[in-house]
Every structure is written in C-alpha cells, then in structure tokens.
Amino acid sequence: MPTLLLEIGCEELPASACREAEAQLPELCRSHLGVEPTRLFIGPRRLGFFVEDLPERAPDERRRGPAERIAFDEEGRPTKAAEGFARGQGLSVEGLERSEGHVWAHIPGRPLAESLPERLEQVVRGLAFGKSMRWDDGGLRFARPVRWLCAMLDRDVVPFEVAGLRAGAKTYGHRFTYGAVELGTAQAYAPALRQAEVEPDAEARRAAIVKALPEGWSDPVGKLDEVVYLVEKPVVLEGSFDERFLALPAAVIVTAMQSHQRYFPLGENRFAVVANGGDPDVVRAGNERVLEGRLEDAAFTLERDLGVGLEGLAARLGSITFFAGAGSYADKTARLVALVEELGGDEDAREAARLSKVDQAAELVREFPDLQGTIGAEYARRAGASEAVSGAIEEQYLPEGAGGRLPETSAGKLLAVADRIDTLNTSFGLGHRPTGSRDPFGLRRAAIALCRLSTEGGVTVPTRLLDDEVAAFVEERFEGQLDVPVEFVRAARRAPVEDLGSVARLAEALGRLEDDQLGSIHTAYVRASRLAEKGNGVGELDPALLVEPAEVEVVRAVERAAPEIRAALDDDDFGRAVTAAAELGQPLDRFFEEVLVLAEDEGLRANRLRLLADVRDTVGLLGDLSQIPR
C-alpha cells in the first residue's frame, strides 16, 4: 500500500502547541483519511505524520435527507423534496435509503488519490490551538506561522495549497546547519532529516536526552516534557556554577535552573543543559555565565532582604494589601494568629502564624513568586527560628491541589487550615463567590485543601469558624472528594456534628452500611419523619398508652440506641454509631407491620406519633437519610 507523508513546517512552536497537535492528528486523519497515522513526527519546526496503509478509496459517506413524511406523499410516491435531494447528491430517487425517519444518500468513497489534496488541506485547517495567531493575510490561524508544506504519496507530491502555501517535496533540516532537503520518496523522510541533523520523532528525542543526561539528574519542576519540544537535535552538556552561590536557598537555585533556564539539576553546583547544537565549549560557557548572572542577581536581592531583617520585613506588612477590602498583610497575619489559637495551636503554631506572611514583603519573593513560604521559612531559619516554626511557614501553602502533598508538621497543618479559612471567609464576605469556571481567587482549591486537611490531615476544623455560606461551599467539595455517592454526603451534612472531618467520616460510615441494613433504617427514618410531622411534637411519651408489643419493642430499641449513637459520635466512632442505628431497623419493620399509627383513639395516635418523633431524632443523629434515594 502507498505511504503518505504530510509535514507542516512551522516557525518554532510552543511545547503546548506540539502536544495539542499530537493529540488532534490521529482523529483528524481518521475523519479525513479514514485511517489513523502510523507514525507522528512532532517537533518545534514540524508537525508531520505517515500513513503507511492508506486505503484505496475514501470511506463511504451517508448523508441525511428530508424526513420520510416529507420525502414521500400519502401514496408513498416520492415528492419534489426527495427528488431534489437525490439530484443534489447525484443519485436517482430509487437510490435513496430510508431509515430512522429520514431518507439517506449513500455516497461511495472516491479513490483517495483524487480527493487527497482537499483532504490534506482539511487536516491542516482542522488543527486548533488554545492560543493562535495571524501572521499575514492568508487567513490561516495557527500557533505560530506555517512556512512550508511537504506532502508526498510515495514518489509523488500531493498537490494542495493552504493559505497561499503550495505543498512540495521539500523539507528543511536543522535551522543553522542544514538548509532545504529534497525528498525522493515519502519513505525517505525520517532518514533524510536525521542526515540533516534533525530528529523528527519526539519519543526518539526524549530517549536520546534521557540517555545522555549524566547520572543523578533530576527534574523537580517537570521540564523534560517541554525540553523535548524545544530542540530538534538534542545535545546534552554539563555545566557548573561558582560554589559561593550554594549559600542561596536551594529552591531559588532550582527555580533559576529549571523554571527560568530549563536546566536539569545534577546536585551540588552542577547542572545539565539540553542544547540544539553548537560548539559544546562555547554553549557551555555561555550557559554558565547566564546562570551565574541569575544567581548573582538573586544573591543581591537576598542580601538586601537580609539587610532589612525578618522583623524589618514584618514591619512592612501593614503597607501591603492582601486584597482589596481585605486589609493589609498585617491584618491578615493578626487574623491567622487568632485562628491558629482557636484551632488549638501551641506556641510554635502561633509564632509560625505571626511570621507566615513576612516574605510577602521580601524582594526575593517578588522575583520568585512561586517560592512564597519557602523563602519565608528560609529567612525565619536564618533569623534563628526553630525548625517547628520555619517548617510550618514552609508548608502553609500545602496541599497545592487535589493530589498534592499535605503538610507534615502539626503547626504547618494548623497554619494551612487557618490560611484557607481566612481566605475563604474574607473572599465570600466581599462577594467573591466562584461562578461557573471563573474562580480568580482560587477558592475551590482552597476549599478542597481544607477538606483534605480535615480528613487526611486529621485536623479538627470546627464548622463554626467558617461563615455559613463558606461552610456550605466547603462541605459541597466533599461530594467530589469522597469515594461515596454524593447523597451520602448530603445526608451527613445535616447531622448535628461540629467539624468538617466528622461530616466526611459520617458520610463514609453511611456508605459502608450493608444494603439491607441501610434499607431498613432508611425506610424507618423516612416513614417516621413523614408521620411524625402529623404529630404536634409536644409532651412526653406515655408508657401507659403503649399497648402493642411491637410498640414496646421500639421504645426499648430507641432507649438502647440513642445513648449508644451519641456516645459513638462523641468518640468519633462513626462506624459504631451507624451500626447502633441499624439495630432500630428490625423493631421498626415489625412496628409498621403490626401497629396502626393513625389509630382512631386520639390518645393512642398522639402517643405513637410522639414515639416516631423520637425515632426520627435518634436516627437523625446520623444526618438526613431522606437525601439518599432508595
């Protein structure tokens, strides 16, 4: 079968655009060529693919025509509508198919070679990028300008044109060492490019980079995925910087290396850089100079911050706005100290809270905003703070997402909780509720962090510390966070428990109930609460009016279960509480079977309704079970 090659030659594409194209090309090929590409060639200057098993004909198409009742009259004769549709498709009316209430035209695929030019044009035009641009009046939008097209079917050029560019047999090698490369056949593509100092296969580049990186390399920020798309001819070089810069906070060095320069740390003062060619000595020396310049700059900034000192920086917090309407960072700090205290924090936790935002006044944080917390911790350490305090400052922004690492120190956990509570309360208080996909203050992330800190982190977060709207917003996050159906969370949210973690653990305990156990207390709760509403809910249960044995049994069951559930809830033993409630199931089943609640005798009726109110309140200690659909 013939081999088809398409290469879209571009000015240097961002890594993200390369990945978008990589993800879209298989589907684009399938819909326009009928098969997926057998190989992709994705790199900064080219998006290409091979199809090695191109079918002879394009896939057949079915086109929908008018509805059957319009296409045929009452006698079943074709109408003008049917004839018009058939003619438009190049068929006779007899050739139309009828199904799903419509008529259809079945169009057999043309030989692919005939339609290939327009199909390739559609593939090129079909690529869509998150960020795209114009560069001339050709009308094509792309992630960066497209400068050439190379399209071949075995030995022949596939002639097509997009936005004024005509496809040919020419591709281009390495930008600075090779020029144009004329291809004799589609199959010659990859070897010809390798000859021209370009590795067109992204996976081959990745493998070559990984293989060439010296022992001990690391990639803490995750730059390898980008670097693979930054070079066409990876050359891995090892460099080093002056050891005096090791006095900088390690995170500053790593950020300068990785986020700014896309280097891979090798430990100590060594690093690896992936170049795209050049004379190794020249390129190494240049990169060493650049990194040292960045570190020198950071060292200057660090010196200035240290000159001001930790308390000096703290004194500046009053003039830095946290955000509009929410006071300064000094105000925020005071709120954090109070919150940490409410959460039961010890002296270390309070001191960590007092110093937690000091680095917002640091120039180094302005240069390295991602290192807030880390830099504050470093400054605290240098000022002689204990590890308990500085560790907590370092961990205050954890966890960063749904899967991120949690703080480990107890002060760090409390500070992380306090920070989230304050951000949520102040933001909601100012009306910054997230709407749809808009959440500029990161409140969903803050709420999820609070959920995780209260469950996995084991911090007791009293719901009373959250404003009502905030408590509801945070508890709603459990619906997505916990591995139980959302209705169990909704049920547990209505239980009289006082902290976030309890809501979660109760929901989970309810979720663990066997189906028949849940079924019987669920039925009991729903029926009891429905009926209890008919009573006036006042007065005491009158033992003298308990005439049926089933009634007596329920009373005894409630007397046993209620204190047991309360005790279990006090012990945070939600499993036991749920099991204790389940004990009510059988007696209640019997009760509803044998006892007429709405008895004619008014006294009996009132007493039974009173009993059911007790049942409802007892089972209701576990939440509003009517939220759970049965």
């Binding site: 240097e12 993200s16 114009r134 400068r147 795209n276 050049g278 990169n287 700059d297 200057f300 706005t321």
Partner: protein, 288 residues
C-alpha cells in the same frame, strides 16, 4: 565588538533592509514598543519599517548601580517590519551574524513567549530568542494594540543590547562592557543609576506625581476631543511613566494599581482608535 559598534552595525543592517532609522523618543518609555514609531505605526493600513535605539526607563528596576544586571535605564534596539516578510526569522538571524555571532557555534533557540502589555491593551505571540541560554531578543508578532486588531501583522524585534553585549563580549557584569575604546558601560551609566535610583525610590514627590497623572490624563482627553492623536499619545506615555514612578515610590496599593492601569489603558485605546481613524481617512483622500 563594543557597545557602540553593535548599535552602528544594527543600524546599518536594518537600514539596508529598508528600515527608517528613527531616534529614541523624547518622552520616557518603559520599552521601545510604546515609542509611537512602533505602537502607533503598527496600527492602521500603511506598511512601515523602522529601527532605532530606545532607552528603556523603568524606575522599579533601579538598584543604585550596585547590581550588574538591574538598571532603571538601559538600552533596547527596536525593529519593526510591517507587514511581516515570510523570511523574517532568517533576516533577524542575519543581524546576529552581522554582529559576528557564528550561528553554527552557538545555541540559538526560540522559546515560547506570549507577550502582553495590559496597560496598553496590547498582546502578541512570539519568542524569547536565546543565545546560549541568554535571552537576547524578544520577538513578537503583534496581534492587538490599544485594544485594536492589527491590520497588517507587524513583526517586532526588541534586542536587549546589554544582554547581547554580555554574550558577545563574554563579560559577567554590564558595568564592564566596553562601550567605546577606553570607556565602559559603567563609566557611562553607573553614577546615573545611583542618582536616579535615589530619585525614583526616595525623592520623587508623590503628591506632585499624583496631581501630574490627573493633569496628563485630562490633557489627553482634551487632545483626543480635538482629534490630535499624536500629541494625545505623548500624554498617555507621560501618564504611564508617572504611574511607574508612583509604583517605585511604593505609593500604589494593589487596588489602586488596577485602577491606574485601567485608566492608562482607556486612554491608549481612545488614542489608538483616533489614530487609525485619521490614517484611514487620509488614505481614502489619497485614493479619491
């Protein structure tokens, strides 16, 4: 190659490629992009090619002449080709070769950079161009300026002259760069960095600056009403610089910051619209 030879070489190179060699603008700008020779001329339907040195004035970035990488006054070399020729990158690389950079011995890379200047309602896509890891040029295909889509897409190349010189001369401190035989960059600029840092951070009069901002803003609005976009645009630049000074003085809170930026952006938009209107009218006159 010393600093002034670099500037001369770039001037020659771009003049040979049809650029009008402009001069630095007479009002402070934070970047060559907002010199009207780039910002306004990139708008509208007329082709344009220009190249010029631009002193970049950024009060916040001063370090009293103590830090060899940060300055409140440094130099950019600015080139605009409108519309963009298809071989624009090859032409740009040629300018590096003209300065003696052997592209086969160095690692020259184009690293994604999505440029945005919210104060001026402007954005574009392009790259940081790296020479052995040093960002020596910012390359941008403008897409919007003053909130308006560009009509002919210009390519803007902004060379960071000090960084380029560090790479070319193999120096570690901008102060040590040779500007001319016998004179370093530090000889020319260091004392100025010290004094201006003191002014920017300590002496610039906040009350006066706040008043001036309002005055420039009002004057801009007046000039727009009189349909004089060019003088009106200078008032936008003065507003922008006054804001930068206030920022350096620490006189702008986070809230106020957004509001100042919004005010400058509004002015920039109105001037840009008026400029394009007049350009189109004058072209229509020529056609008629």
């Amino acid at each position: 190659m010393n600093f002034q030879e670099m500037i001369a070489t770039l001037g020659r190179y771009w003049a040979e490629r049809g650029c009008v060699l402009m001069q630095p603008y007479h009002t402070e700008v934070g970047a060559g992009t907002i010199n009207p020779a780039t910002f306004l001329r990139s708008l509208g339907p007329r082709p344009w090619r220009t190249a010029y040195v631009e002193p970049s004035i950024r009060p916040m970035d001063g370090r009293y002449g103590e830090n060899p990488y940060r300055f409140q006054h440094y130099f950019q070399y600015q080139v605009v080709l409108k519309p963009t020729p298809p071989d624009v990158l090859e032409i740009y690389f040629g300018s590096l070769e003209a300065m003696g950079i052997d592209l086969q011995r160095h690692d020259v890379r184009l690293v994604e950079d999505d440029w945005e200047q919210p104060t001026m309602g402007a954005w574009g896509l392009g790259w940081e161009i790296w020479l052995d890891g040093m960002e020596v040029t910012q390359f941008t295909y403008f897409q919007q300026l003053g909130g308006l889509d560009v009509q002919l897409v210009p390519a803007e190349m902004t060379y960071g002259l000090e960084r380029l010189a560090l790479a070319i001369q193999g120096k570690r401190s901008a102060f040590d760069l040779e500007w001319a035989p016998g004179f370093t960059w530090g000889d020319v600029s260091r004392e100025s960095e010290r004094q201006w840092s003191i002014y920017n951070f300590e002496e610039a009069p906040v009350d006066v600056l706040m008043r001036r901002f309002e005055e420039h803003e009002a004057e801009c609005a007046h000039l727009v009403a009189r349909r004089l976009p060019l003088p009106a645009y200078d008032q936008v630049l003065k507003c922008s610089h006054t804001f930068n000074l206030l920022d350096a003085r620490g006189a702008v809170s986070v809230t106020e910051r957004a509001s100042y930026i919004g005010r400058v952006r509004t002015l920039a938009r109105r001037v840009a619209q008026l400029y394009v209107e007049l350009e189109e009218e004058s072209l229509a006159d020529v056609a008629a």
